[in-house]
Symmetry: C2
Subunit: 299 residues, 2 copies
Amino acid sequence: MLTTISDLQNTVTTRSDRRSMALAVAQDPQALDAAYKATKAGYINAILIGDKPQILQIAQQKAYDLSGFDIIHEEDTNWAVEKAVRLVSQGKASILMKGNVSTGTLLRAVLNKDWGLRAGALLSHIALFELPGYHKLLGLTDVAMNVNPSLVEKVQIINNAVSFLHRLGIKNPKVAPLCAVETISEKMPPTLDAAILTQMNRRGQITGCIVDGPLAFDNAISFHSAKHKGIVSEVAGDADLLLFPNIEAGNAVYKALAAFGNGQLAAVIVGASAPIVLTSRSDSEQAKLNSILLAAAAS
Amino acid sequence: MLTTISDLQNTVTTRSDRRSMALAVAQDPQALDAAYKATKAGYINAILIGDKPQILQIAQQKAYDLSGFDIIHEEDTNWAVEKAVRLVSQGKASILMKGNVSTGTLLRAVLNKDWGLRAGALLSHIALFELPGYHKLLGLTDVAMNVNPSLVEKVQIINNAVSFLHRLGIKNPKVAPLCAVETISEKMPPTLDAAILTQMNRRGQITGCIVDGPLAFDNAISFHSAKHKGIVSEVAGDADLLLFPNIEAGNAVYKALAAFGNGQLAAVIVGASAPIVLTSRSDSEQAKLNSILLAAAAS
């Protein structure tokens, strides 16, 4: 069972071969920093695609030794992104990371029909938290990409996350469609979707996981709370993955746990043929490094 | 500035007179426990309205000394609720607490036009957190009552909370309408309401506070995150109150902070002519006691 982010470290560093990561538009101090440290830590080999003089300048300022790093010079942002994506679609890298380029530009390239990384129907975001007080890693989806997912999109978001968790070795993850309450009420549409998703799982329309909802946050993560409410559920108190009904809920919980949870976090974009590391400036250095580690562990 | 729940304790215990609290349908082991302890701690004087033999039986089992407690015998639940509410509307008690009665029954009595506690247009829930890592008490509203508030209801929820925070001595609270992002996007309707609420505040249509949104959770509570994003706002990084766009977001953040925030919390229902303590079985004993303390401090 995965209980800490450090468990991922063991997975990755004991492998015989290291995964390669293509950093698109690498002249970005923070992304380069994370890619450099992840390479030095033995998590990955970074391939830096971008403006080589600018990359070397950043490296010099930070006293990085980039000898041994693969640097592909490309001044133009769009070309640099395409080259990075093509490295992944050609199997020369197994992780894509965003550098000094907008998320929109990067994801448009990922979704390119000819040379992109399109796999399923939808890209989505998954975050994993290691929290003191919880007995295993806790996944959150989708806290950053899909705003107000429909039922069909929720199925795709679950599928993306479950397939990713399988790659980490979590065989039959327990998925909690999260709501404000654990009972079904027509006044709260997310509770209807939660019930439907649960039954779709029972009917074999969502596989590789156990879905049981609606659950409120406390029921999902605490056996004690679930018992208090008399909830009989394999998922309650033991969730591997929380499915949020809307981005406002997911994003606020993600940031609340990041700020006050006193733990560790990692996050990637899933649903493409390779994991995508897409950190934001407000993420901590540790979170960026963890996210590369997470992508490496799943690829 | 209020930075801890203990600050409320000083407010309450240094007063010359204690507030009275009417516990409706008091034959409830958990509510009675909290009311008993709050009385013994000097926060309030509890008036117990309900089935006296049952109340005394619980007291005996728990070895409480109820001598000196005002007990009003009323076997019938609806009558007991009405008597408790009337004590408050007649000024004989200044706090109402829910005992062994459903929330619906209690609130229907509160909203009774003849003898209820109706004040504003809407009842709402406010929670206050003391969190290691935040420099003052952090208010959350509404995480438990209003499901998907309209713009007008959001104004009422802000007004209820602001009026309550004023009573605690927080003179001009900083209110953050919380969204997943800090920029306005038509694809995310809560960001539109957040912008509108901000401008209503500037036009004097929402008073006694500073409203500035949309803000994401991290921008609202961290100067560092706000600065990173280049947000110029009096509220960013210094919020007293987070206004949630929907109950799924509020409820999940509330429970995430309760489970993993390593802090203290208190919560009451506001918008009636007196604060209402309405704890649930899943709240910790400390949270129940804190909630009575909070109600006492504001009344």
